[in-house]
Symmetry: C2
C-alpha cells in the first residue's frame, strides 16, 4: 500500500465520520479504525487533528471550485453566469452529500469561524467568479444595489438551506424544483 493511498484512506475515513456524526463523533481512534491504520500512523501523515480537518476542507473546496469553474460561461450575461453557479452548487452537492455535510460541520465550528473572515471561495490563484459576478451585475445594472454580503446571502442562502433539507430528506429537490429555487433566488436580486 503506497503512502498516497494510505493518506487517502485516512482522509476518506475522517471525512465520512465527521460528515455523518460531526467532529465529536469522530475521535482519532475511530478514524484510525475505519481507515484500517493505527492511531499513531495518522500522525505520520498529519501533524495533528486540526491539520487533518483543515486538509479535508481544502480538498473538498478544490473539487467544488474546479467543478464550478469548468465550463464557466464567462462571456455570457450575468444572469446566465448566475444560473451556472447556482445550478452547479445544487448539482455538485446533490451528487456529493458527504462533501456538503462536511462543509457544513466545518463552517459552523471554531474552524469555520476563523475561515469565515476571508470569504468562502477566495482561494489563492483561483479567479473569484463570485465577486466578478457581483461587480459585473452592479456595473451593468442588472442586479439591485446591495452590499456584496447581502447580495450573496440573497443569492445563495436559500440554496444552501434547501440543499441541507434535501440531504436530510426533509424535502426532495428534483430538477424542476431546483429550477424554481434558483429562479426565485435570481428574482430576489435582479432589478
Amino acid at each position: 500500500m503506497t503512502k498516497q493511498v494510505k493518506r487517502e484512506d485516512i482522509i476518506r475515513a475522517a471525512m465520512d465520520l465527521i460528515a455523518a456524526q460531526g467532529f465529536h463523533g469522530a475521535p482519532m481512534s475511530m478514524i484510525a479504525e475505519k481507515a484500517g491504520v493505527g492511531v499513531g500512523t495518522i500522525y505520520r501523515y498529519f501533524e495533528n487533528r486540526d491539520v487533518l480537518i483543515k486538509s479535508i476542507y481544502k480538498e473538498i473546496e478544490e473539487r467544488l471550485v474546479a467543478y464550478l469553474t469548468k465550463k464557466y460561461p464567462s462571456e455570457e450575461p450575468v444572469r446566465i453566469c448566475f444560473f451556472h453557479i447556482a445550478k452547479g452548487l445544487v448539482t455538485y452537492f446533490t451528487q456529493h452529500p458527504m462533501d456538503f455535510k462536511y462543509f457544513e460541520q466545518f463552517h459552523y465550528s471554531p474552524f469555520g469561524e476563523a475561515h469565515r473572515r476571508n470569504r468562502i471561495f477566495k482561494s489563492a490563484g483561483q479567479p473569484d467568479i463570485f465577486m466578478e459576478l457581483y461587480e459585473r451585475g452592479l456595473a451593468q445594472q442588472v442586479i439591485k444595489n446591495l452590499p456584496p454580503t447581502v447580495f450573496f446571502n440573497l443569492a445563495f442562502a436559500p440554496i444552501v438551506w434547501s440543499l441541507r433539507d434535501h440531504i436530510l430528506e426533509m424535502v426532495a429537490i428534483d430538477d424542476s424544483l431546483a429550477e424554481l429555487l434558483v429562479t426565485s433566488c435570481w428574482d430576489s436580486v435582479k432589478i
Copy 2:
C-alpha cells in the same frame, strides 16, 4: 439572593459564554465562576448540562415568539404579515445579538438537529404564524407553489445570514437596507 435570581444568574452566564465562545468555550466550571456560584450549585437548578442548554434555548424562543406575535396583523394581507415577521426578526435580533448568537450555536449542534426535525414534522402546538402565513399565501395564490421548507428558506435564510453578518460587523444593516433585504425576500416568493 433569591432562588429565582440565582437561576437567572446561571442562565445569563451560560448564555453569554456559549453565545460568545460556543459550547466548547463554556465548561460548567466557567459558567459557575461567571455566575458567581459553585459548580455543584448549577446542578441544584438544572438536572444536567443538556437541560441547562435546552432551557436557555426555550427562554430565548419564548421571548422571540412573544415579540413577533405582539401586534401581529393577522387580519391584514399575506404580504403585510410577511413584512411584520421579517422586519420583526431583524429588529429583535439586532437588539439582542446574544440571543441570535446563542440561537445559531444551538441550531448548528446536535441539539439543533433534533430540534429541527421535531419542529418541522410536528408543527402542532401554539398557533404557528409561520405555517399559517404559508398556507394562506398558497390558498390566495399570492406566493409561488413551493414546498413549505423551500418557501421558508427563500423567505428567511437571507435574513438570517445577513443578521449574522451584521452582528459580526461584516455589513451594517440600517433601516433602509433592512427594508431592501426584506422586500427582496418577498420578491423571491411572491407570484
